[in-house]
Every structure is written in C-alpha cells, then in structure tokens.
C-alpha cells in the first residue's frame, strides 16, 4: 500500500488531503504541520511520496525540500509541491527547484489522488 506524507501548516488542508488520499485511493497517510516535523516524519516513516505546502511559517516548502534532498534517507522520495500561488513566475520558480510536480490549491478532493498517481507514475 502506498504511503504519502502531507506537510502543511493549515489543519483544513491536511485534513481534506488526508481524507482524499485515504478514502478515494486507499493510501496510507501520515501528516506533519511544519517543515521541521515533516523532515523528521519523512526520515522515520519513509513515505512513497511527499505532498509539501509552499507557504509555511518558519521553514517554507522550498527550504524543507532542500533539507529533504540533503538527507540520504529522504533524498530519493518524490516531492510534490502544493501551492495557492497561480502566477506564472511563481510556478516557474517552484518547478525549477527540482520537485516532481507542482500542484495547485484548491485541489479537488475527489481527483487529487488521480493527479498525484499520474505524476508519480503509480499505475497500480
């Protein structure tokens, strides 16, 4: 069974994303409410993918991603950025970080897992 780590400081986003991935796709979900916690959970849980919010206090998504990449235990885990920024300049900046994909808020809870699976090449 697939395991996904959701890192987002907003409770409602974490809850809806977790609901979506668990109920629609049947994946296991673990969550973290900030970048620092996300880095710890990623190393401990070894998820198959990470859904990472961009705008978070203290450690933002891009900084969290760089820390994940710097750790051999987590550097192989594909990361999908989640952002409400829709302007092209922001999209290009995020895509250039080396993440697997950039997904946009608000997402459709009924299709989020499909979108993630397509990006990640998960066909099972």
């Amino acid at each position: 069974m697939r395991k996904v780590l959701i890192i987002d400081d907003e409770d409602d986003i974490r809850e809806v994303a977790a609901l979506s991935l668990e109920a629609v796709a049947g994946w296991t979900v673990v969550t973290a409410h900030c970048g620092a916690e996300g880095i710890r959970v990623a190393a401990a849980e070894k998820p198959d993918a990470i859904l990472l919010d961009v705008m978070m206090p203290e450690m933002d998504g891009p900084t969290t991603f760089k820390n994940l990449q710097a750790n051999p235990e987590t550097s192989h885990i594909p990361v999908l950025l989640l952002t409400a920024k829709v302007q092209g300049v922001d999209q290009r900046r995020f895509a250039s970080l080396g993440v697997k994909a950039v997904l946009f808020k608000p997402f459709d809870p009924l299709t989020l897992s499909e979108e993630m699976a397509a990006v990640l090449g998960w066909t099972d």
């Binding site: 907003e10 409770d11 409602d12 986003i13 809850e15 809806v16 609901l19 979506s20 109920a23 629609v24 049947g26 705008m55 409400a84 829709v86 808020k105 608000p106 997402f107 459709d108 809870p109 009924l110």
Partner: protein, 110 residues
Amino acid sequence: MTISTPAAKTAQLLAVLWERNLPVVEERLAILESAINALMATGELAPEIQVDAANVAHKLAGTLGMFGYPRGTDLARLIEEVLELPDPLTPAEGQQLQAWFVELKAVLSK
C-alpha cells in the same frame, strides 16, 4: 445511511470537515472585513494589517474551492492580489475590495 462509494464517502466527510472548519473561515473573513473597513474609513491601511489580510485571503483562496466554493476561491484570489500591491491602496481599490468581499460573504452563505 449506507455510503456506497469512496466518492460519496469523501463528499459526506468533506461536508463534516467544512462544518468543523467554519469557525476558522469566519475568523479569516473577520480579519478581511476589519482591514477593508479600516481602509474605507481612513483611506489607508497599516502595512502589517495589509500583510495579515493578504495572508488570510491567500488561505481562503487555497481552501474554499476544495469545499465546493470555486467562486469563493476566485474572489479571495482577487482580494489577495490587490492586497499584495506594493503601492498604497487607492479609494477605488478599497471600493473594489469591499464589493468582492460582499460577494464572497454572499457566496459562502448559500
């Protein structure tokens, strides 16, 4: 009640989450309303209040659509974009913010 599909189960749980998160949404709307009222009353907005208002507009833009309020996301995004303008806001921009905010509250009350 029997829940037959994952989609139906998700939709039902989403409704529960929306109800649970309403106080947060209302708190964010109150911050926006306070900022817009201040702007309309004084013709200016303290930078820290403008930043806070832009942040809550950003959060509303990122969440309302997933709860079935795509127009709410559009309106919150329009409000966010104006609040992020680098120059002091004009009276016309204040009136536009107010109009969008009124529509946003109407959308969410349906």
